[in-house]
Amino acid sequence: MNIIKLIVNISFFSGLILMASCKKDFLKEELTTARGMEFFKTDAGIQSLATGTYYQVFNTPFSAEWSYCTANYGVDEFSVGGDPSNGVWNNYDAGFKSIVTVNNSNTQTANAQWDNLYTGIGDANLLIQNATASVSTADAIKKIALGEGYFFRAYCYLRLVSQYGAVPLKTVPGTGVELEFTRATPEAICKQIIDDFKQAYDLLPNTGAPAKITKDAVAHYLAKAYLYRASEINDSWNSATKAADLAAIIPLCDEVISRHPLTANFADLWKYTGPDGANEKLSELILSAQFTADVSTNGTNQQHLYYTSRYDDLPQMQRDVTGDRPFSRLRTNYYMFRIYDLENDSRFWKSFRTKSRLNKSSGSYYVNGDLGIMYIINQPGDNRFASYKLNDVVVYSKTNKTIPNAYIAFPAGVTTDGAMLADVRYPSLSKHLDGSRIALNETRGLRDMNLARSAETYLIAAEAKIRLAKSGTGSYTDALPYINAVRTRAQFTSGEDRAGYYDGGGALGASTSGQSPTMNSFIAENSYYESNNIAVTTAASASLAITDINSLPAGDEYVISRLGLGSVYDRMLALVLDERSRELCGEYKRWEDLSRTKTLLSRVQTFNAQASPNIRSYHVLRPIPQTYLDGIQLNGKALTADEKQAQQNQGY
């Protein structure tokens, strides 16, 4: 009995200790440092989610390489520069499949873009659901956040359908592991996109451009969606909607253009002097992905890395902040040298860096500040230069010294494109260069990325007019006012210094790198006169306006003849595609334009020497990522090899 008593006592005693040492909710897990998903059901959460989705949809693509891989590689404008990390995306070779052959750690997988876009759609679905469910009557929730949600979803689906064709359509947020998906038809996806854009159009106000999604931004993209649906790639099913779509484009574009006038000087678009400067607030800009200096913002724009040709390994040169870090991924193709009226069209000279300042003098002849590198973009028949590469031969008129490194597009006797391809040097697209970075190897760029500007709106309208003319509504010349508006802006104005040049590399003043200006490789001039070999003039350019559709500018006639085009429609479509190159090259649109118009095959075969042996007609769509095919199920079962093949795009 005694024993039992004692055991009871001891149990009681130890029980007391237990009670004292633990609370009832000892195992309750409290997340005190972060918010849970419930937050998105509040009005503050809905607005927070909207802002977060701006980041997810607009910013994240620009910190990755797949953005240019899927938009600017494998087209007529660019091919692989000196670094092959992602060459597979340009070359359409054996490694370009549902699993992309990995060349190195920078190689972008087949699913990178796909995953990113569906993540954006997931966020948009959540935003739409919660904003719809909110009992708030505030415009900030019921109009703006909801409108933004519809826009984001449509924006992502427009990119998906443009890249992959048929894709799974998901319009409600995921709440658990779902594995059963099938690809919806492009027709169903287009309908969803247009419905969403229309909702956004009705809901959104017209303030805050280009940082905020405005009604005009929606109008621009709605016009783009209509144009996509009416394009050749959808010809097998779009006959019912085509006429109405094309007709709807024009008023949308006119409306946008009226509120977003073109900037007077094309150069002002690229006159980046520091984060959030004047060039990022121009009225021409409709929508931009926002980046800024504040390190607490999450976005890092890395696109400044990819277009620059190697300059730092050349004699008398070294890397600096203003020359940027030359990842040398995208090389400017000869196509870009041939389509401009290089004498009168200022855009080439304002889009490409053709001169670099000497910044590492050695020996007694050169000093820093001399001209270190020059690219002479001449035309066939120019016999001034003996070789595509001339070291210490070409004389710089301002100093009467030779230039250590000169590259010539057409050396004497060469009339076919490609002399400069023997080396990994080329004039670099300078639209994204960023001299405001904090160090010469810093990858985090601070420039905004423009997503939509009204020059493109003009060209969308022009293309719609051409398509309308083809279908018998209006005439082809109806397109010319829209095209000419863009072209006229590109002319040199009276008094303009045609050799004057600026790019974002010049934004050293905004950089905290502490780099001495004597180390600059940026120089505020281009090779206009050396290339064109004409006397210095400050007169206005001859008019670039096109007046006769049967006599297009020489560059376009060159393209048309290379492509062997005959019909008026084909000629006019080539014109508008060329004009898009002249105006918008390197602005992350090209591949989808060529795919949409089914001109990808012919243009790549003709103008992209690296890809031409490999490209096939099926490359007009991207391979469905193998990770998707491997991950989904059909009726509770993983897909068989043949079922997967059936879900894959033809040819892959």
Binding site: N2, S14, I17, L18, S21, F26, E29, T32, T33, G36, M37, F39, G45, S48, L49, T51, G52, Y54, Y55, N59, V80, D83, P84, N91, D93, A94, K97, S98, T101, N103, N104, N111, Y118, G122, D123, N125, K170, V177, E178, F181, G208, Q290, T292, V295, D313, L314, R319, V424, I438, A439, L440, N441, Q610, T627, Y628, D630, G631, I632, G636, Q645
Partner: protein
């Protein structure tokens, strides 16, 4: 059933007293004499000879003889001596009794810690193996894991060569797919939070016991799924006060199994690569031209490197032998010196016992800039305050400074190398570090991807400091000593605090290989505190031949970690390192990161265990544990973990009495359930990702869902394991060991899995899937030779394990994205298989592929077309190529002692598995390992032709990279010389041992010639240690 550590020492104490049995005399009338020898015929001195059932006893003299008066001629003599098996011999009316005594392999008397208690090895019911102090001392090691390598069957321990970094450990393979697979460490009864074993001075460890099967680990319930490693530190012993001193010095050099192309071979290699890129433009690799060399070796970018290549052209005709090869790797390596000093004292009375030690380790790495310093102090006190109350404390404090060397922390994408050695290896053999004027060349060889490592060890620093203190405090009441009626009842409370502070400072100079061009620094700090509070009730009772033991436990654990971090660019001046990231030096725009965080988690457990022994032959253990873990979802927090085990000591049976060749034989069977909640706290909560987005200049707070889908029904992962084991010693204990067979099934597998991104999420944690695992563990000790001067012992441990996935998230469907396949092991390689390279004579075959879109040509890697459709596609041609987990893990130690010398050699191996070496990309922009590559002069090469790539290398080069990874390595050879008491009689020293050891002398065999698969890399350290142990 004796369970506690204190009791365990009492057992030892009692047996000690027995040895010095007290003699007493009575009326005796039957004198007996005799001689006692060991198996080799050597006379044994000091053997106690006792008349059974009396206190009459004597001891043998120097010649091994004795003489005693027995009460009668039918008395029985009992012979006992330390280290020998006691024998009982009836006198049978003989006046002379000569006896041979066998050396006792006292493994069966070893005390084994089993979790909340300890038992003699002979009474263990589960699969428990371990090592003791002697094993730990047998090799110079810096942490306890190293000491266990290859000595414990079923435990696979990898090697890490960076000072201060511990290897990986897996007990009985990998069960969980994505949750943690590391075991639970329990130090003196207190589970450590995470890791921590590296902070224990191995010299303070008395034993390490590894609980392998679930019947043993289930006692730790939720935390036992991956096995439990129980560390018992040394305690003071009653009796003589002793002082121990260990000193050792190790000198190591870095060895590299991977040979790189020298300058001449690399130059030829790159020429071929250009040739194959475009044969029309570039000359063949064996027909070089100066002009081509200038272009492809970037002569204008680095004239110094070109000057070296130009040497090869000095005669006008190419002579590669004239080009000098720069030893970049030699530049960053050094002889690593490890100094190890340990002093410990112990002593006490039966009232109080104490142990204290101090350890100092200073390990300089074989790569410049790497080092590890550790100071450890351990002190414990056990006090028997009264007859019924005892308490004790044990505190371990360690402070360590790890110079990590060049690390990825703080690095930008300029370099992806993980160490200064890797950075050095990436440099061109023909490039030089300094130009003719002595200036450091920034990019030797002219390629911006490769920066100079000269002086790098002064340019990048990553210093990690840890202060860790953990301990256990206990108090125990023995109610039996209060009142006889309560005999066998004890109450014990354990409190185990575990505290650590961690600080990681990094500094990267603007000129460092890993810099982005501006200097940067970061400072990370973390403080972790956890505690475990256990209440235990023990009750033991014997009724006749029935022995009962009851253990009850209530336990709670709480972990708290708070952390902070700051990093910035543009450090004002280098000497500041990470110590001045302040407003006065760093403008806000240069701050690249700052954060603070808090993580908390809790565990609560209740456990009951019953031990029952009948007739000292049949043993039964039954336990049940209920655990709750806070990271699991509401409603899924608690679960039961039962276990049971039985054992049968066969040799105790009467029918075995005459089977004299069997010394010990025990059969065991156990089954138990263990759990795993090793997911990060808050995984079920769906925390949103907060961020800032700038609307022009208006920085606005935003948030998006995590890309990991929150799972609100995440519950316990459970493993049920069955174990059958046999412990044996036979033939006079010349052969002893244990054999275990096990089979386990894991259900509700906790895993992070990729899900189709169409859902909006990329991954989720889920309880899906089931795996099965089976294996065999064999530990075997054989005494091959035992004679007066020479003993040869072999210890072997062999483990075999095979695991497979039974089902996955949606039944028996393969999950390719996660490379999980039904009926296949976890961790397989899946992809295109390789069939060597295409040859010229295969032209008919590869042309068929080329008509289907391939671009094969002779010298390309040749993937296998599984379905034979002359197309290589992801849907039809990918297969499972191999298993990446070793089937067999073997370890063998041979020890030979001759007189005072002791020699041992330790072998370790992993067999039957595959490793993906990645193949050889051969894009020739960077350096290249020495390989046999295809070219016009070497068409039967192992690897494909090089291709200087500006878009695509060989699309299938990886198929040539899957290799059989089996190896057997000589880990260690040692030679020791000890002086025992006799020789040291005139000094104060009671024991002295000097030894020399060689670590990693070589491989017995390795299927991959250029890798050391023990460390899974090409480099390892080879070293020699000289050491001294002395006891006073």
């Amino acid at each position: 059933m004796k369970k506690t550590i204190a009791i365990r020492r009492n057992v030892m104490l009692i047996s000690l007293l027995n040895l010095f049995a007290i003699f007493s005399f009575a009326q005796n009338n039957f004198p007996v004499t005799g001689k006692i020898t060991d198996n080799a015929g050597i006379p044994l001195q000091g053997v106690t000879v006792q008349i059974k059932g009396t206190k009459i006893a004597t001891v043998t003299n120097l010649e091994g003889t004795f003489s005693i008066n027995a009460p009668s001629g039918s008395s029985v003599l009992v012979f006992s001596s330390v280290g020998f098996i006691s024998r009982e011999v009836p006198i049978e009316n003989k006046g002379q009794v000569n006896v041979t005594m066998s050396v006792a392999d006292n493994t069966m008397d070893q005390i084994v810690v089993i979790g909340y208690g300890a038992v003699k090895k002979r009474d263990v019911t589960g699969a428990v193996t371990g090592i003791n102090e002697k094993d730990i001392k047998s090799r110079p090691v810096v942490d306890a894991l190293q000491a266990m390598q290859g000595k414990v069957a079923g435990v696979d321990i990898g090697s890490a060569e960076r000072p201060g970094t511990v290897g990986t450990i897996n007990i009985r393979g990998v069960r969980s797919l994505t949750a943690s697979n590391s075991p639970l460490y329990v130090v003196d009864g207190i589970p450590l939070m995470t890791g921590g074993i590296e902070y224990i001075n191995p010299n303070d460890i008395e034993t390490i016991d590894v609980l392998k099967d679930a019947s043993a680990t289930a006692i730790y319930g939720s935390r036992g799924a991956n096995g439990v490693v129980i560390v018992t530190t040394k305690q003071g012993k009653a009796g003589k006060t002793s002082l121990n001193l260990n000193l050792s010095t190790t000198a190591e050099t870095l060895e590299d199994r991977q040979e790189m192309f020298n300058a001449a071979d690399y130059i030829t290699f790159r020429r071929w690569a250009y040739y194959y890129k475009n044969p029309a433009t570039y000359p063949r690799g064996d027909q070089p031209t100066i002009a081509n060399d200038k272009a492809i070796f970037l002569a204008t970018s680095d004239p110094s490197a070109w000057a070296n290549i130009a040497r090869g052209w000095s005669s006008g005709k190419w002579d590669g032998s004239q080009v000098q090869t720069t030893d970049w790797r030699g530049m960053v390596t050094q002889t690593g010196i490890t100094k190890n000093l340990n002093v410990s004292v112990s002593g006490g009375s039966d009232k109080a016992r104490t142990y204290a030690s101090f350890g100092y380790l200073n390990n300089t790495g074989t790569q410049k800039g790497q080092s590890f310093k550790r100071y450890t102090a351990n002190s414990n006190v056990d006090v028997n305050a009264t007859k019924w109350l005892s308490f004790g404390t044990n505190v371990t404090v360690s402070y360590s400074v790890q110079e990590y060397g060049q690390s990825k922390t703080g690095a930008t994408t300029v370099s992806s190398s993980a160490s200064i050695y890797e950075s050095a290896r990436a440099l061109f053999p023909y490039a030089v570090p300094y130009d003719s004027a002595g200036n450091r060349i920034y990019n030797p060889g002219g390629d911006i991807a490769y920066k100079n490592v000269a002086e790098e060890w002064t340019l990048a620093q990553d210093q990690r400091r840890t202060l860790r203190a953990f301990g256990s405090l206990y108090s125990q009441i023995d109610f039996g000593s209060i009142h006889p009626a309560l005999k066998g009842l004890k109450y014990r409370v354990n409190f185990g605090p575990d505290f650590s502070t961690y600080r990681d400072g990094t500094y990267v100079d603007a000129n460092s290989v890993i810099s982005s061009g501006s200097s940067s620094a970061s400072l990370a700090k973390a403080q972790t505190f956890s505690y475990t509070l256990d209440h235990l009730i023990y009750y033991n009772k014997s009724i006749g031949r029935h022995d009962f033991g009851l253990t009850l436990l209530s336990s709670q654990t709480k972990f708290t970690t708070d952390s902070s971090y700051i990093s910035a660019n543009g450090i004002a001046f280098g000497s500041q390192r990470w110590n001045a990231l302040s407003k006065s030096y760093i403008p806000a725009a240069n701050l690249t990161g700052y954060s603070s965080g808090l993580t908390e988690s809790q565990l609560r457990s209740f456990m009951a265990r019953i031990n029952y022994t009948f007739n000292d032959r049949y043993l039964l253990t039954v336990s049940a544990r209920r655990d709750g873990a806070s990271p699991l979802a509401e409603g899924h927090k608690y679960s039961w973990f039962p276990s049971t085990a039985i054992a049968w000591k066969v040799n105790e049976e009467n029918f075995m009495k005459n089977t004299t060749w069997v010394n010990d034989l025990k059969l065991r069977f156990g089954v138990g359930v263990t759990g795993n909640s090793a997911i990060n706290p808050y995984a079920t909560q769906g925390a949103v990702t907060s961020l800032f987005y700038p609307y022009i200049t208006t920085i606005t707070a935003g948030s998006i869902p995590s890309t990991t889908l929150a799972n609100q029904s995440l519950g316990w992962e459970k493993t049920t394991q069955y174990n059958v084991g046999i412990d044996f010693s036979v033939l006079n204990r010349r052969i002893s060991g244990s054999l275990d067979l096990y089979k386990s099934n894991t259900s509700d597998l906790l895993m992070q899995m990729s899900i189709p991104t169409v859902t909006g999420y990329t991954t989720t944690f889920a309880n899906v899937g089931q795996t099965a695992n089976k294996g065999i563990d064999l530990s075997l000790t054989t005494v091959n030779i035992r004679s007066k001067d020479l003993t040869w012992t072999t210890n072997t441990s062999i483990s075999y394990q095979k695991d497979k996935i039974v089902s996955l998230s949606n039944g028996k469907q393969d999950d390719i994205n996660n490379t999980w396949f039904i009926d296949q092991p976890i961790g397989v390689i899946y992809g295109y298989n390789g069939a060597g390279i295409w040859h010229v004579e295969d032209s008919a075959a590869y042309r068929q592929f080329n008509t289907n879109g391939s671009t094969f040509s002779p010298g390309n890697a040749r993937p296998v077309d599984i379905n034979g459709d002359k197309k290589i596609d992801a849907n039809h041609d990918r297969v499972i190529i191999g298993n990446t987990r070793p089937r067999w893990i073997v370890g063998m130690t041979n020890s030979v002692s001759y007189k005072s010398f002791e020699f041992s050699i330790f072998l370790y191996g992993r067999l039957k598995y595959m490793y993906n070496t990645g193949g050889e990309a051969q894009t020739a922009r960077g350096v290249q390992r020495t390989i046999s590559y295809y070219n016009e002069n070497n068409m039967n090469a192992e690897y494909q032709k090089p291709f200087y790539s500006e878009g695509s290398g060989d699309p299938y080069y990886v198929v040539l990279g899957y290799k059989d990874a089996s190896f057997i390595k000589i880990r260690n050879i040692s030679l020791g010389y000890s002086l025992d008491g006799k020789a040291l009689k005139t000094t104060a020293i009671s024991n002295l041992k000097a030894y020399v050891q060689i670590a990693n002398p070589g491989m017995l065999f390795s299927k991959i010639a250029w890798l050391d698969m023990d460390v899974v890399g090409p480099t390892y350290n080879r070293g020699i240690t000289i050491g001294l142990n002395a006891s006073f």
